[in-house]
């Protein structure tokens, strides 16, 4: 009896898995907020509308930036828009966010960020003093990341047609490294690290909106990661498989992208994931999981297990996954991250194995297990 039931459950789960593999389709007639939240709805929109229209080999991997050669030079190119509210928040503002975000998208491609553009959409009535503050903060962030903002654009829209100030930045960087990085490169036996405590930016913004009446000592983690990436690549260069900054959708979303693109399982130890008490407390109160909360200065790092090759990976899928990741490479990567001020809180949080492909599994601090899925839209606070 129980066996037939288990078999039936397996069949249903397989059917669901097939349904999930189907081509993405946007069913909604209008854009909703979920389409901008970085979860499944965003993914579907990108794949069904943009990828469908623009399809080309550079876009297809849907990485943080495109990587290509031009005139014998290998470059990375990326763009991002910033619509954060409030514009100024503890630890930063829309200006340094816009610079750091684009710098980070280049850095995690393995590129050295060089030049940025900045486009501003301003609402009629927006205080010039605020724009000065934002620009000054962008200048400081650019100097810190050793990039220059070399071109730009300004548009003004009528009052009510925008929310103060939106910023779009694009950036180019120089690729000085041969081994490709990407979400599709994870292999069984690899180790998974995060570069510091997670969820700080997202929680800061939620609290800064002032709707929650929760006060906590938490500031945005917005920071340029290129220095940290350089330190990491210098230490374990050829062994790094994948880097991603964990922005919208948080660490959980990135891990799911890795599991899906690489056809592997990622197993995470909840206990090992660094989360500051203030962030954890706020998340507990709101009923949301810090794994889904945005960071703006943290990255997920996948490095090869010991005895595994330079960059390409053997892909033999022996996949037992145990022990491999515990050794020298992961520790060396951890040490390299921790030697940099932005990586002091880095930790090894999990490992890659071959089965079950495409899924992220969490060993909970309580000692249970569950899967970690991609959210549809923003994590919604629970009622009670």
């Amino acid at each position: 009896m129980t066996e037939t039931r288990a078999t039936r459950e397996e069949q249903v789960l397989e059917r669901i898995d097939r349904a999930r593999q189907r081509k993405a389709r946007v069913r909604e007639e209008h854009i909703t907020m979920a389409h901008g939240a970085g979860g499944k709805a965003t993914q579907t929109l990108i794949e069904a509308v943009f990828l469908d229209a623009f399809r080309n080999p550079l876009l297809e991997p849907l990485e943080d930036g495109a990587v290509f050669a031009a005139g014998g030079t290998r470059l990375a190119f990326t763009t991002d828009s910033y619509v954060v509210s409030p514009l100024f928040f503890p630890g930063g503002d829309i200006g340094d966010l816009a610079v750091n975000g684009t710098v980070n998208d280049l850095a995690v491609c393995g590129a050295r960020p060089l030049y940025l553009s900045a486009g501003f959409v301003l609402e009629e009535g927006f205080p010039v003093e605020d724009l000065r503050r934002i620009s000054a903060s962008m200048a400081r962030a650019a100097a810190a990341a050793e990039v220059s903002i070399v071109t730009g654009d300004t548009k003004v829209v009528q009052r009510g047609k925008a929310d103060g100030c939106y910023v779009t930045t694009a950036g180019v960087g120089l690729l000085e490294r041969d081994a490709p990085l990407g979400v599709a490169h994870a292999r069984p036996g690899d180790a998974v690290l995060v570069s510091g405590p997670i969820g700080e930016h997202g929680v800061t913004i939620m609290l800064a909106r002032g709707e929650l009446d929760i006060e906590a000592d938490v500031t945005s983690d917005t920071a340029p990661l290129n220095g940290l990436v350089t330190a990491l690549l210098a230490a374990v260069g050829g062994k790094v498989r994948c880097l991603r900054d964990a922005t919208r959708g948080g660490v959980a979303t990135i891990l799911n992208e890795i599991a899906r693109a690489s056809g592997v399982a990622v197993v995470v130890e909840e206990d090992a994931v660094p989360v500051r008490p203030a962030v954890r407390g706020a998340c507990e109160l709101l009923g949301i999981d810090p794994l889904y909360v945005a960071c703006e200065g943290r990255m997920v790092v996948v490095v090869a297990g010991d005895g595994d090759g330079d960059g390409a990976g053997d892909g033999d899928g022996d996949g037992d996954g145990d022990g491999d990741a515990e050794g020298g490479v992961a520790d060396a990567a951890l040490a390299a991250l921790r030697s940099h001020p932005l990586g002091e809180g880095a930790a090894i949080v999990g490992r890659v194995q071959d089965d079950p492909p495409g899924l992220v599994l969490l060993k909970t601090a309580f000692g249970g297990t569950r899967i970690v899925d991609v959210l549809v839209g923003d994590p919604l606070p629970r009622i009670c």
Binding site: I16, A265, P356, L362, G367, R370
Partner: protein, 374 residues
């Protein structure tokens, strides 16, 4: 973190797990219903079933506030939100719940002003700040959230805020449990009682379950150790041949409930003769409406609402899932036509809904997960 980690201690869980196993009679299977959606969420989020023997099945109950809202009421709320000068306010969970004509999120995409709030008091704040708008609070939930709605109405009345009203959809838990006990297609061995609801109503209202139906009930907290301990307490009652109401969550739940909160509810609201529950149909005396005395704050009286009944989609088996007759994966459309992106039924919407919890956290056989993470 204090007051959290001590209730998630893996060593204590292992010890409890062993005691639970030792209390299980060989050859006997047990079915316990966790009434509250918050418990369902905890069970999946922490992987709690890993600590239970295969012979114990946890059945998910009807206590998920957004899961039981019928489609017609969502349509009514959207209709109100579309009226001139209206700001509709709602808890976050409610935003994605589908009515017959879409959800709040769909409605905002088409121009309605629907804002997420964390408490009805936030809605009242908006009303004070925007005196030219009519601010309506979409009041949903069991006895846990009802007092805050009632208190907000009392405050609005005291401050004479005239542009605030409540679209009252509050429901009560006892009639729902009774409907399940009277349902012929389900055999339960006991209940894990709703902790938050009980902080308001106390433990006495459950006594008929133990007395008349001979089923033990343990009011439980929301941390994973709370739930494991409640399972242990239920098994102990069964082993000793007892059928009683017990309070595992005594650190929060007073046996007699919260008199002040109950008085506020009674002052502002009264029982409806009947109310439709999503998936469960009409249940008499199972919901609250605003009293005549507070008509000025009652959106149902202030707005001309269509009040159309919308039948649940045929394929949807939320009712069976809410009653615990079906496991989420046993529903015909689970995970294929009905997913968190495109929910057909409400159980797939809220993170407390049994289907969403199973889809997001447990969509994988326990056996394989255990093997994979060993």
């Amino acid at each position: 973190m204090r007051f959290v980690d001590e209730y998630r201690d893996a060593d204590k869980a292992r010890a409890l797990s062993a005691r639970i196993a030792s209390l299980c009679e060989p050859g006997r299977t047990y079915k316990f219903m966790e009434v509250c959606g918050g418990h369902t969420h905890t069970i999946y989020k922490h992987g709690l079933e890993d600590y239970l023997p295969e012979t114990i099945t946890l059945v998910h109950g009807p206590g998920c506030p957004v899961c039981v809202i019928p489609m017609g009421r969502v349509d009514d709320a959207i209709h109100i939100a579309e009226q001139p000068d209206v700001i509709m306010t709602s808890f976050g969970d409610m935003m994605r719940v589908p009515g017959g004509r879409g959800s709040f999120f769909d409605s905002t995409a088409q121009g309605a002003d629907i804002r997420m709030v964390y408490s009805p008091l936030d809605a009242l704040k908006i009303a004070r700040r925007e005196p030219d708008r009519r601010v309506v609070f979409m009041a949903i939930g069991f006895e846990t959230t009802t007092p805050s709605t009632a208190m907000t109405v009392l405050r609005a009345a005291a401050e004479d805020v005239r542009n605030f009203s409540v679209f009252c959809n509050h429901v009560t838990i006892i009639p729902a449990i009774k409907a399940i006990l009277d349902s012929p297609d389900l055999r339960l061995d006991g209940f894990i009682g709703p902790g938050h609801v009980s902080t308001i109503i106390g433990c006495r209202p459950y006594e008929f379950i133990a007395r008349d139906y001979g089923r033990p009930l343990v009011v439980a907290g929301f941390e994973p150790l709370d739930i494991l301990q409640s399972v242990y307490m239920l098994l102990l009652q069964l082993a000793e041949g007892r059928s009683e109401v017990e309070n595992q969550y005594a650190r929060v739940v007073p046996w007699a409930g919260n008199g002040k909160a109950l008085r506020a509810i009674t002052e502002v609201m009264e029982l409806r003769p009947y109310f439709e529950w999503r998936g469960l149909g009409f249940i008499s005396h199972s919901a609250l409406r605003m009293r005549e005395k507070y008509a000025a704050y009652d959106a149902e009286r202030l707005f001309d609402i269509p009040g159309n009944r919308v039948a649940d989609p045929k394929a949807c088996q939320c009712g069976e899932v809410l009653k615990g007759v079906l496991k989420p994966w046993e529903c015909k459309v689970f995970g294929t036509a009905c997913t968190p992106e495109t929910p057909i039924g409400t159980c797939m919407v809220s993170s407390e809904g049994a289907c969403a919890a199973y889809y997001n956290f447990g969509r994988f056989s326990r056996q394989r997960v255990r093997e994979a993470t060993r």
